[in-house]
Symmetry: C2
Subunit: 337 residues, 2 copies
């Protein structure tokens, strides 16, 4: 997520250093004395993408806790928390690919496709276990508590989504409830994490800055998931780097579809847990692309990003790090992959 | 695991009270504001069996930290840790059933059979996340660190076992490495947990009592898994309450089979990741039952239990709680289910 403009030079340099520390810590923490375990764990390195979640932790720290810039213990804890966030995210990707029966991720084969669902279940568990293990290396339990609270919510979102598979009457309200939990809660927790560490309280101490950081991350996360859902329908498979059209195939109703069904009056069988067959999905997909569902979803995402920026701007003073967070929010809706 | 004899009356009463606290805390911690999540989570209540792992935490506390009996904060932390142990165990059962394609557990349908693998993946994640969340409610991170270290090892054991699926040349040495990690490490961690809480160190402070409690739990855990593997081959399906013969069907070589293949000179294709077909598995199963593999495995389990008792007896003074732990070890090899 690093930006090129000259004004970001200093903050980019700091973030790049910290992100490479995150990568090194990630690798070191997963190392096992068993070679078959290392072979499998190494595969997830190839899943590494934009590193959005650790970037959120690091940028929030730089923007809101500039006074702790010289505090080596605090900075080390922030890097640990950023690594934990990336590990949790990787675990959810590995388990998500089982749920979606996805064959491709970041232009490579998924673990479930390559080594079977069993290996993917266990590799995801291995990642989540190591994430909690690394987090509990911090002296206080408050970061562990905050991360586990976020993963509780992520799992609730995933379970709610599963419950509504094939529910073609899914409302916008429930859709937003699902994505707030499954995607946005972790982004919010990432942004609040420096406040959690600073206050040594799992809720970040409840001060206005902690609340604003969480709200910024949550709104950004909801927007991010909407864009993901738009790209699943209308993205370029080569650019996105993963199997597209999985949402319809797995009976998952997303915002562009919900909007399209509502305005076009298209009727689908109310409950169909098997998902649409390929032909029906193709026809529906074309109709959504021709209709207004995609634009509607993109506009909702843009409004959320504007809100996120407003929230951040109201609580955190201007700085290169804050401007970087503003640009991060814009990048969430501008991305093609 | 409660025992009936008169000498256990007092310790039984204490354990029964604590175990019902564990059940209540388990239920309360899993409660969600989403009804579909609660419906699924309630299903695991039906998986509850002997409650071996929380019993190990509680009995170790009573046997080795009798001086803390009146310390309400310590006792509360012990009950929390016992609940965490049960939750971690339940999570491994839910994910194990996916790996084993098991249809029955504790005389009921498994989640994967009833609701699909996707729901089972997410329910297991929900349980493990809540286990870490509950554990991080303790003021210090050392219990979280100890639990996460144990789950790291459990996952390694599961991944090593997966790697050796269909490896009909599996050695006893690797078999023991697998079961030490996947089963015994958590039992060891349960027994050491009161020492972790007392010393506020994830390794239990390294004193002889902590080491002995871990060694007792680990040996008991290895014996427990050997007996599980014996029952999978030669148990009574009604009594055991789950699908039997899964090990052979999934290409998992266990101690009775390893021994049988070694002494009978039976040759199988060296690697066969698909597992044996039902007919071949049936013939092999009959041959193992007629041979000496089962007795050999049972004897190894009995030796381990004797070792576990010796280790405990050397480090912890005699008391009703210690005698209960001795009886627990015996029950591990005597069980038919």
């Amino acid at each position: 997520m690093l930006l090129q403009a000259r004004e970001y030079e200093e903050i980019n340099r700091i973030l790049a250093t910290r992100l490479s520390e995150v990568e090194a810590r990630f690798k070191a923490e997963l190392l096992s004395d068993l070679e078959p375990v290392n072979m499998l764990a190494n595969h997830v390195e190839r899943y590494r993408g934009k590193m959005l979640r650790p970037t959120l932790v690091l940028a929030s720290s730089a923007a809101a806790f500039a006074d702790r810039a010289g505090d080596a213990v605090f900075q080390d804890a922030v890097v640990t928390a950023a690594t934990v966030a990336e590990m949790v995210h990787m675990a959810t990707l590995v388990h998500d690919d089982i749920l979606d029966e996805a064959e491709m991720r970041r232009r490579g084969a998924t673990i479930n496709h390559l080594r079977g669902n069993e290996a993917a279940v266990m590799l995801g568990d291995y990642l989540i276990s190591h994430a909690y293990h690394l987090c509990s290396s911090l002296p206080s339990a408050s970061a562990s508590r905050a991360i586990a609270a976020a993963t509780n919510t992520v799992c609730e979102g995933e379970l709610l989504q599963l419950h509504h598979r094939g529910d073609w009457a899914l409302t916008e309200r429930t859709y937003f409830e699902i994505i707030r939990r499954k995607t946005a809660s972790l982004c919010g927790a990432c942004c609040r994490m420096p406040a959690v560490l600073a206050a040594d309280r799992a809720d970040g101490g409840g001060d206005p800055v902690a609340l604003a950081l969480f709200a910024y991350g949550e709104k950004l996360g909801i927007a991010f998931q909407i864009v993901d859902d738009v790209l699943d329908l209308a993205g370029d498979s080569d650019q996105v780097g993963k199997t597209l059209g999985r949402d319809l195939a797995k009976g998952k109703l997303t915002l562009p579809l919900i909007r399209h069904l509502a305005v076009s009056g298209t009727r689908l069988p109310e409950v169909d847990t098997a998902g649409l067959d390929a032909d029906a999905a193709g026809v529906l997909c074309e109709a959504v692309i021709a209709g207004e569902g995609l634009d509607y979803a993109r506009e909702r995402a843009m409004t959320l990003v504007a809100d996120a920026k407003q929230t951040l701007g109201d609580a955190v003073p201007d700085s290169p790090a804050r401007r970087l967070m503003m640009a991060l929010a814009d990048a969430v809706v501008d991305r093609q992959a």
